[in-house]
């Protein structure tokens, strides 16, 4: 890193330039502002301002019954919304103490791993775009369209899925969904290999990203990093392994680790996690074949909406439907915390219920918000374009940053 010297006169005092990066900027994927103090091209200090899409999720959650909170959890890390939905439903299931059948847990694993692949596809292709490589983005985004087709078959929506129910899923995987899944598992590995061939051992990409925005493991732990960013720094903390949920303890997968915590390591960790997700989905499909067919929810009628045909024909189902939708069910009092491994790390839900139809307090532990604080430390002394690359490789999703 060289500081440009002024050769014409003796300059004793140096003045730093202030550069305003944002809030809207082509390279910031999301809306957050960074005011940079620069010495030429090198960044001396950075000050971040966030909150430009603060939508008051925590206050909103105090007004809504449990099923109405699922759509707002969608909009936390909207690139992988099924993981957020499942995490929320698992929190409520922890509160009411219900046991989910194995088949449902495996189906949830499939959906969550598809969401993880979708999230990492966006992050890695956007790292490519920020270094100037648009091709990778265009090629791999096709695979994201395939995942959208699977979501559409399962729940009707592409991006903000609002998938699942408390106690399971709203419907079984249809034969078309199984076909789409099999086709995806056949077509995704060659597409990912093609994407990798473009970037992974590309001389220009490696020169650009190695050593860019590093963070050591100690500092990362002190900043409460989690997810791929922490694993790139060398710490093997994965909520799926540490506190397994939804039968993840039965699956066989590795946790990829990096060494320097720089952009290249983050890219590689996400790349390898996509391969691991494909392997987990294949294992889940094998496990589902051994379970009794047709089970897609637990038996918890006070929380699980009954099927519509029964609501129109059966008095009991009608009463349950009415009670659930109007929020008249008996909700136990309690205080629970549940964490899932989201696309960005440990996504936690801290729920305090006082027996009323809406939560008394719902706090989201948002990984993006917590690790974005370290950005100022990671870019000190780096050049402006490295700062852009660090920002995009940290996978800052504005919805999760501001909530």
């Amino acid at each position: 890193m060289s500081i440009a010297k002024n050769t014409s006169t003796d300059i004793i005092e140096k003045e730093y330039t202030t550069l305003n990066l944002g809030p809207t900027h082509p390279a910031t994927h999301g809306i957050f502002q960074n005011v940079l103090k620069m010495d030429g091209e090198v960044i001396m200090e950075a000050e971040s301002t966030v909150g430009y899409i603060h939508r008051a999720f925590e206050k909103l959650a105090e007004r809504r019954p449990f099923y109405q909170i699922t759509p707002i959890t969608d909009r936390l890390n909207y690139c992988s919304s099924p993981i957020n939905n499942m995490g929320w439903h698992m929190t409520v299931e922890k509160l009411i103490g219900v046991e989910i059948p194995k088949r449902v847990q495996y189906m949830r694993v499939i959906i969550m791993e598809l969401a993880r692949i979708a999230d990492h596809v966006i992050c890695n292709s956007v790292i490519g775009v920020d270094t100037g490589a648009m091709t990778g983005f265009l090629y791999i985004f096709q695979m994201r369209e395939r995942i959208y087709e699977i979501y559409e078959e399962l729940c009707g929506a592409r991006l903000t899925t609002n998938i699942g129910r408390i106690g399971g899923l709203e419907r079984d995987f249809s034969p078309k969904a199984w076909d789409l899944l099999d086709k995806f598992l056949k077509d995704f590995p060659p597409a990912l290999k093609e994407f990798e061939n473009l970037l992974m051992r590309n001389r220009i990409f490696m020169d650009r990203t190695i050593g860019c925005g590093p963070i050591s493991a100690e500092r990362a732990l002190n900043y409460s990093f989690s997810g791929p960013n922490l694993r790139a720094a060398g710490v093997d903390y994965d909520v799926r392994v540490m506190n397994p949920y939804s039968s993840y303890e039965e699956f066989d997968f590795i946790i990829p680790l990096g060494t320097n915590g720089d952009t290249y390591d983050r890219f590689m960790v996400r790349e390898q996690e996509m391969w691991e997700s494909v392997s987990i989905i294949k294992q889940a499909i094998e496990k589902i074949k051994k379970e009794p067919k047709g089970v897609f929810h637990a038996d918890v009628p006070e929380f699980y909406l009954p099927p519509k045909e029964e609501v129109y024909n059966n008095m009991e189902a009608l009463i349950y439907h009415f009670k659930i939708v109007m929020g008249e069910t008996e909700i136990p009092k309690g205080e629970v915390y549940h964490a899932v491994e989201g696309g960005n790390g440990e996504l936690g839900y801290y729920l305090i219920s006082d027996g009323g139809r809406t939560p008394y307090r719902l706090h989201f532990r948002r990984p993006c918000f917590i690790y974005y604080q370290a950005f100022t430390e990671m870019v000190k002394g780096a050049m402006l374009s490295d700062a852009i690359l660090t920002m995009s490789s940290m996978n800052v999703i504005a919805g999760e940053l501001d909530a």
């Binding site: 899409i53 759509p71 909207y78 369209e145 592409r158 504005a398």
Partner: protein, 185 residues
């Protein structure tokens, strides 16, 4: 060999005008309208989830480039169409207004998604309940998020507006009065 199917592609009709050997005369409005509508450069003001659906619209399956929007301009000075995608909070509203004011005439505004059109599902203290509280909007695309086909339909409606607009509209007193209603000079 089966019979050859007639192609379903329709060639766009030329506007009414006088045609001759090697020339075509029409009114300036129509010629400028065709040029403008088929070369709109959007400014993607993407804030949240609708931004990801916009990325999907730009990608290969629903390619936006074939509508003339190949070059996304992030600089307001070089953009024609401001696409506001996602929730606009009250903190961001002055920034959006500043971006809008920097754009040169003629400019169109497309509000994509429920949050930009009306605040969406977020009826809270911090969210601006629709960008039409601060800017004049030309086309609203409802949805949460809207499908890429809906976005393309919205772009096509903007194209229709651009094609049928008179070239004097932006200088007219009615237009200035409308901007003054929003407090924009």
């Amino acid at each position: 060999m089966s019979s050859i199917e007639k192609s379903k592609i329709e060639i766009a009709k030329a506007p009414p005008g006088i045609e001759g050997a090697g020339f075509f005369a029409t009114s300036l409005d129509k010629a400028v309208g065709i040029a403008r509508s088929n070369s709109l450069w959007p400014l993607p003001f993407a804030t949240s989830c609708c931004g990801i659906e916009f990325m999907a619209t730009m990608a290969s399956t629903y390619d936006l480039a074939r509508f003339g929007s190949e070059r996304l301009s992030f600089s307001p000075r070089q953009a024609d169409l401001l696409m506001v995608m996602g929730t606009i909070s009250k903190k961001l509203a002055p920034v959006l207004l500043q971006v809008y004011e920097q754009m040169a005439e003629p400019k169109w505004v497309l509000s994509m998604g429920a949050c930009a059109s009306s605040g969406g599902i977020f009826d809270t203290y911090s969210v601006l309940q629709g960008i039409d509280r601060i800017l004049p909007v030309d086309v609203y695309i409802p949805g949460c998020p809207p499908r890429p086909e809906q976005v393309l339909d919205g772009i096509m409606q903007i194209q229709k507006l651009a094609q049928s607009e008179t070239i004097r509209r932006r200088d007219s007193p009615e237009y200035t009065a409308m901007l003054n209603k929003y407090g924009i000079e």
